[in-house]
Amino acid sequence: MRPVIQTENLSRLFGKLKAVDTIQMEVTKGEIYGFLGLNGAGKTTMIRMLLGMIRPTYGKAWIFGEKADPGNHGLWNRVGHLVEIPYAYPSLTVKENLEIFRRLRLIRHKEAVLSIADKLMLGPYMETKAKNLSLGNAQRLGLAKALIHRPELLILDEPANGLDPFGIVQIRELLKELSRNEGTTIFISSHILGEVSRLATRIGIIHLGKMIMESHAEHLENQRIRELQVSTNNNQAAAKLLLRKHFHPEMKEDGSLRIRDAEAIAHPEHISEYLVSKRLPPVQITVTEEDLEHFFFRIIKENNMTS
């Protein structure tokens, strides 16, 4: 089966700056692909190239096997998009803004406007002018415009921007539902790994224009650093004892010990028994996992060092 999104050495230079650098990517049908990167990493440039808004300096991009080119008009009705902060015609109401896109998307059924507004809880704001909407509702209107034609592929650039926690959960559930029930392929960019990892089936990390890591969401778990944290009444003595047992304890800033040996993480009870037998019973012993944001920053840092 043909990938929904495919890129080959996709690159874009702005002067000497490589905003997107030889990106190879494939997104298959039904996937939710989380495209992660810090601000300025190249996410929006990449998204604009996928939507035919910016021409690649070199390399190619295909959507549903067709070249991502503005001239492929048939293609764009299979794609919904939201790029950066969504704006709408300020002096038009929510209903009028949606009506514009119903017509420009060549949708015959007038009910499409009401139905998408209901889905995004915009019903009470139908007669409100776009300029008077809160940031969260403006974001919902942006999503409604992207979804009104029930696209097979949804390309979203930071869709959680401006939403409150309730809105974020709501959008996440909506996207999951679209993926599950309608088989919509979703390409979603973000700079928050924690947010994307709850949704995405696959994650790609872009940094300084380059794809530095790609992983299935379930494999992400294995790549995060796990460690055993131990604290006793005399951590220095405990460290010496553990070294004798061929573990590699490190002293943390707060004075407690950190052990990253696989044996220690798999069997913290052995460490506990050993320290008790040496009259240094642990006052605290916990297996911790590197949180997603630290993992994200570590990957970026490691990349900075190697490049």
């Binding site: 808004m53 038009l92 896109f101």
Partner: protein, 262 residues
Amino acid sequence: MSTMRPAIWTEALKLRKSAVFKVSLYFFIFIGIMMGLLMYLSMHPEMASRSSTLEFKTSFLGGSTWQGFFGLLMQLILTLGMIGSGIVTSWMFGREYSDRVIKDLLALPVSRSTIVLSKFILLFLWCILLMVLMLISALLTGALIGLPGWSDTDLISFLRSYAVCGILNTLLIMPVAFVASAGKGYMLPISFVILFLILTQFIFVGFPDLAVWFPWALPALVSGVAGPIAPDPRPVSWLLYSAVVAAGAAGTMLWWRYADHQ
């Protein structure tokens, strides 16, 4: 062409709901009335004598008759018409950038060229509407104040020139549309319109012989309002004018189609 209808519908909605559209209608009606009132002052110079500025202006009207009034309206459509059509064009294209909604118009089943074409069609109709409103309000005011010297022949000849010059002026929106798209906003195209209006005046005053080579001068050359010092338009004037209009239209379409939209 099945995508042309929705494109025109959406452009018409955006236009109809905008304050700029309503203000432009009121403004051109107001100007038409004001011109009529200026003629009234010209008929009654004793009222204007208290103000030296008014006296100065009314002395320029070329007689307090319908013929003088038609001449005034021709000058108006050539100057205010050019500024007015330039401003509404700057708004029509520039707003997509200043309202930051341009990106919503770029990946649609309706082609970018269709959107540009629908904008051109509505702009043309809008400019013609403004011209007609100003004309009607001016003629009605002229009739109300009892301007003397009415002649059907003069009216027909004036209407013909007014329509031709108005249309020639309106077609010059094409390069303005290109500047608004490439400049991504209002400021550059409005400055462009003002610059070319000044250049046109400058050429007529300083180098009238060059006017035949300057496309923006063609409407005035055709109208004959510049007086005997201005030459008649030559085939090359029409050729250069057509080239500028065509380049503006093609440039705008190509810009929307091929430029990077960041």
